[in-house]
């Protein structure tokens, strides 16, 4: 029998009992839908976070104390006090860092901010005036603190929009009010524009103060958590990285890469690290969804076995009129593959629709910069895997069918 006719025969076999066929493929449909959904949402989340990182600007380089994390779970910060005031002074020297546009230190931590009886758990950032430019935030009301405030260790603060809402409620003009952080009063000089969760840092619930004041009055430390350095141009990033290494190694008297007590992270590094995390997550969730595909495959095998028994007479007849074992084998394998492939295609369509709907909900309702990405690779994989499952789980019933003796088959009542 030609393959085309085997296929036609299998198609008739599948469509002969439509309600059973549709129930049978339900397992495959659900499995493939789940995989498409997980992969599409994983990809969407990846793009979202990627966008936030890229929002930092590709000219930005972070210097952190400690060593490069070896993996997502490596939080070792052995040299957490490695970045000192002296290092900042060295990095700010044009001679050491000829290609640096801005050099900015950051100290940060979660702190309770109080106004009157109201309190709010905010992230306090201690930095210089440059933070406004680097992270593209600006004061909607009042002003930003200046480098003079940094030098004079002034206890002034710029607060995020959400901090204002939480602490002051409906009070509109809050510039000049005093808030308390760690029992020290800070005068509010500005309120940030509402940004939404569109950056790596949530500035809406942040309080920005001069780093000198933050070190002295809030965190009680004499080192920095990060240096943020902006290059004059993107092409100079590798040069900047080298300059930082030379400067800091010289300052810390470090002889080689292995002994570094700091690490430098560029946007490219962050994107790579993030890619690993989201890929592992997507893979894991996809694997969970794949289990339902296997269950669906077992369902297919079960129904195919029933079908082979039911159609014993048909098999006998086909053999009596000249079908070979191979013809029968092919017919029943094709039936199983056809079932799973149809299930796969429906699953892809359903998965695409559901993930599209989810992306609309996330972007419209939650105002996230979520973009719908149809995972073409996952779709192809879905069809391939489900057809493969048909092949694997259809093989056994098809062998049973092909081994039937024509007499036994015809005698079967």
């Amino acid at each position: 029998m030609t393959f085309k006719n085997s296929f036609k025969t299998a198609y008739k076999g599948v469509t002969a009992n439509k309600s059973r066929a549709s129930l049978t493929i339900l397992g495959i449909v659900i499995g493939v839908t789940a995989i498409i959904l997980v992969v599409a949402l994983g990809e969407g989340a990846h793009q979202l976070i990627l966008g936030q990182i890229q929002g930092l600007g590709s000219k930005t380089v972070f210097v952190a104390p400690g060593r490069q994390p070896t993996g997502p779970s490596d939080f070792a910060q052995i040299f957490s006090d490695a970045l000192k005031e002296r290092d900042l002074a060295l990095l700010e020297k044009k001679a050491n860092m000829p290609y640096a546009e801005k050099v900015m230190p950051i100290v940060f931590g979660g702190e309770t901010v109080a106004y009157g009886g109201d309190t709010y758990r905010a992230t306090v950032f201690g930095s210089s005036e440059s933070i406004a430019d680097v992270f593209d935030v600006s004061a909607k009301e009042g002003v930003f603190f200046t480098d003079d405030d940094v030098r004079s260790r002034a206890d002034v603060a710029v607060i995020g929009a959400k901090v204002k809402d939480e602490l002051f409620g409906s009070v509109s003009d809050v510039v000049g009010e005093k808030i308390k952080i760690k029992d020290r009063s800070f005068r509010v000089v500005g309120v940030l524009e509402k940004k939404g969760q569109s950056s790596v840092f949530d500035f809406d619930s942040a309080v920005l103060v001069p780093y000198t004041a933050a070190q002295q009055y809030i965190f009680g430390i004499k080192y920095f958590h990060r240096f943020v350095i902006e290059a004059t141009s993107e092409d100079l990033i590798p040069q900047i990285v080298e300059d930082i290494k030379i400067t800091l190694r010289d300052s810390h008297r470090i002889s080689g890469e292995m002994k570094d007590d700091f690490f430098i992270e560029t946007q490219v590094d962050m994107v790579e690290r993030l890619g690993v995390i989201t890929n592992v997550l997507t893979l894991f969730l996809g694997a969970v969804a794949a289990i339902s595909l296997v269950v669906g495959g077992i369902g297919i095998m079960n129904i195919m076995l029933v079908s082979v028994t039911e159609r014993t007479r048909e098999i006998g007849l086909r053999k009596a009129v000249g079908a070979t074992d191979k013809d029968i084998l092919l017919q029943f394998i094709l039936e199983a593959v056809l079932l799973t492939a149809i299930g796969g295609i429906i699953g892809i369509a359903l998965g695409a629709v559901l993930s599209f709907a989810t992306s609309i909900i996330l972007s419209q309702v939650l105002a996230m910069a979520w973009e719908f990405a149809f995972p073409l690779s996952a779709a192809l994989l879905g069809v391939g895997v489900s057809a493969g499952i048909g092949l694997i789980f259809g093989l056994y019933p098809a062998r049973q069918a092909s081994r039937k003796s024509p007499i036994e088959a015809l005698r079967y009542e």
């Binding site: 029998m1 030609t2 006719n5 025969t9 008739k12 002969a16 007479r313 048909e314 006998g316 007849l317 086909r318 053999k319 009596a320 009129v321 000249g322 079908a323 070979t324 074992d325 191979k326 013809d327 003796s405 024509p406 007499i407 015809l410």
Partner: protein, 239 residues
């Protein structure tokens, strides 16, 4: 050379160490163009004989040559091809495919024949015409009467122009009138188209519609003789 040549053919079924002889030392031959009946009560071995003749089963001892060759001359695939090209089967239970038209049912053997698909319709229509069902071509098999179903089965058996037609109790599931019509068709196929037909039956009256009767009893041939005065199924047929 006879079309079918059987010498001392025996078949013993073995089931859980119990041996049941179904056929013992059977010998006969069939020439092309013969119309004969194999008759006998149930358990006489006539069905076993048909299975052996149709290469549906293997004999235990003796020799069976079909068209000059034995079952051992063929591979399983060649046997399938042989059944497809040279043998036609008609069963008691019709065995039509459900939810399938008359035309599609008759075309079934062509599916496995290697004949070009463009010729299928013509061949099938020819076979359907020879059993007088041209007006039913696109009916579904479930819409047909029993007699019509069996005629479709005969057309299906004929579509590849086989050397021999094996009919296993073809009237067993039919009323006498429909049964007569089936036998009439077989008679006409034998007379007009010179078809070789082997009819398996337990009814004497049906057997007498053929030209030769082999009477079986307890797995052996009791009688093998020509019919004197062949009955006409179309005319005088009384129950």
């Amino acid at each position: 050379m006879p079309l079918i040549e059987i010498k001392n053919l025996s078949k013993t079924y073995v089931n859980e160490d119990v041996e049941t002889p179904a056929l013992r030392d059977v010998s006969f031959s069939v020439e092309a163009g013969e119309f004969m009946a194999i008759m006998g009560p149930s358990g006489s071995g006539k069905s076993t004989l048909l299975h052996l003749l149709g290469f549906l089963d293997r004999h235990t001892s003796g020799e069976y040559r079909f068209d000059g060759k034995t079952i051992d001359d063929y591979s399983p695939d060649e046997i399938a091809r042989l059944r497809n090209k040279k043998m036609g089967f008609v069963f008691q239970a019709f065995n039509l495919l459900p939810r399938t038209t008359v035309l599609e049912n008759v075309k079934l053997p062509l599916l496995y024949s290697g004949i070009k698909e463009s010729q299928w319709n013509d061949l099938a229509m020819q076979a359907i015409e020879s059993v007088g069902l041209s007006h039913r071509v696109s009916h579904e098999s479930s819409q047909l009467s029993g007699g019509e179903k069996q005629r479709v089965a005969i057309a299906r058996a004929l579509v590849n122009d086989p050397l021999v037609l094996f009919a296993d109790e073809p009237t067993g599931n039919l009323d006498s009138k429909s049964g007569r019509a089936i036998i009439d068709i077989l008679q006409q196929l034998n007379e007009k188209e010179k078809r070789t037909i082997l009819l398996i039956t337990h009814e004497t009256q049906l057997a007498e519609c053929t030209k030769r009767i082999i009477l079986m009893r307890d797995g052996q041939i009791e009688k093998d003789e020509a019919v004197s005065g062949q009955r006409r199924a179309a005319n005088h047929f009384t129950k």
